[in-house]
Amino acid sequence: MAEDGDDGPEPFVVELERFHGPLDLLLHLIRSQDIDIFDIPIARITEQFQAALSAGLDRLELDRAGEFLEMASTLVRIKAQLLIPRNESPDWEEDPRADLVRRLLEYEHFQEVAQVLMSAEADRSRHFAKGYVPRIPDTAPPVEDLELTLDELMEAARGVPEPAEEAVHRAPTRRVRVSEKISLARRLLEESERVPFERLYEPWKDRYHGVAGLLGCLEMARRQAVRVRQAEAFAQVWLYRGERFWETEEEAGEEEAGALDGARLAHDLAASEEGSEG
């Protein structure tokens, strides 16, 4: 049995939150230093363990902190027991570290099982059952596809969130262009067959984005680059690839001149809104 405590503790920077608990942290310390689990240098490990605790304990919830502290006290107790010379305690049946080693081995065993389970889970997730490929949204399936009128689409635009009331600062919003929304919609639709209309504005939570998204959507529908569907009034609006979705921007762009003057409309709307506020 090697003496421990010879080497000074290396500075160990670990994020406590990253570990599932004290056993996880201990195993990490042991593994990362290639320590023989059957001959743990308790003094060194205890110091490292305590160093990790003092660095991160205050960021943990009380319960979790308690779990780490309990282990720290166990380590200190073992360290003390090891200091008692062996021949002075005749009933020293086993190494004071034995129980800890058992727990670590058991825990390590389950961590390894967990690894195997995770890869089994990943394998399983590559098998698909009937019903995986897009179903109609969870609401009752529509009897037939509904082509959408402008009014219905405008209704959906009512779902665009209002700017938060609390917002005191009004940084000038970057003018968002309809063409940006069109390319966003194209990009989304290249990745998946259909896209909920909200995806066009949701991340921004901003009315301008909503309006630009709506106009872009209308423009694309006009070019037959998308189809817009909704199962019933107020239901989710979905964009699907249209018949001419895969035509290049250039081909579609030739019609730009005759296109809906989206930017202008957006501007007008912005103006009217500002007017109503002022």
Partner: protein
């Protein structure tokens, strides 16, 4: 109508897995064992024809699923939300329940060294584990075990598919008998080393 065709039709029309007994209800002439035979025949057939799907056994049921090599194509239909993978804490807990079932919360916590009631509740909510009884002793604690859904989630046919110590990349196996890392099912470490059997 050959039994293979009836079995195939039944499996095809089902969204979930079906046990041989379920399938046998489709026809008076079918028995569970004939269903099993038919499934084997169909499997061979799909294999020969290089179909994109196969009949897989999940728990004690069968289900037609696509083969993994088609996943990249199907994953593009990402508008259907995919079940998120389990967190590593959840899988760790699940591993303990799977091997040591029936097991109480306190026993799980002894092994993990951390409180585990919320992760156990989550696993219960997801129906990956269930209460299978009550233990002896103070307060008659709830005992947990894994469910059919657990098998399905990991693509296992039965708990026998859980990795055995031989499957695990451990270097400490030869030492195990000495230190008494005990496990219930594996006869690998021959009894009699005396040592320390105590746990917990």
């Amino acid at each position: 109508m050959r039994p293979e065709q009836v079995v195939e039709a039944t499996l095809f029309a089902s969204e979930g897995s079906l046990t041989p007994t379920d399938i046998a209800r489709a026809d008076e002439d079918l028995t569970p064992s004939r269903v099993e035979e038919a499934v084997q025949t169909l499997r061979g057939l799909y294999e020969d024809q290089e179909r994109s799907f196969q009949i897989y056994q999940l728990g004690d049921g069968y289900q037609i699923l696509t083969r993994p090599e088609y996943a990249p194509y199907l994953e593009r239909f990402d508008s259907v939300p995919k079940a998120p993978g389990l967190s590593s804490a959840a899988v760790e807990t699940l591993a303990i329940v799977a091997y040591r079932q029936p097991i109480s919360r306190v026993e799980v916590e002894e092994i993990r060294g951390v409180s585990s009631s919320s992760v156990l509740n989550t696993l219960r909510d997801w129906e990956l584990i269930e209460v299978v009884g009550r233990g002896e002793g103070l307060g008659r604690p709830l005992l947990y075990g894994t469910t059919e859904r657990f098998l399905d989630h990991f693509g296992f046919q039965s708990l026998d598919d859980l990795p055995t110590p031989e499957d695990l990349p451990v270097t400490l196996r030869e030492e195990e008998s000495e230190t008494g890392e005990e496990e219930e099912s594996e006869p690998a470490g021959a009894a009699g080393t005396g040592g320390d059997e105590a746990r917990g």
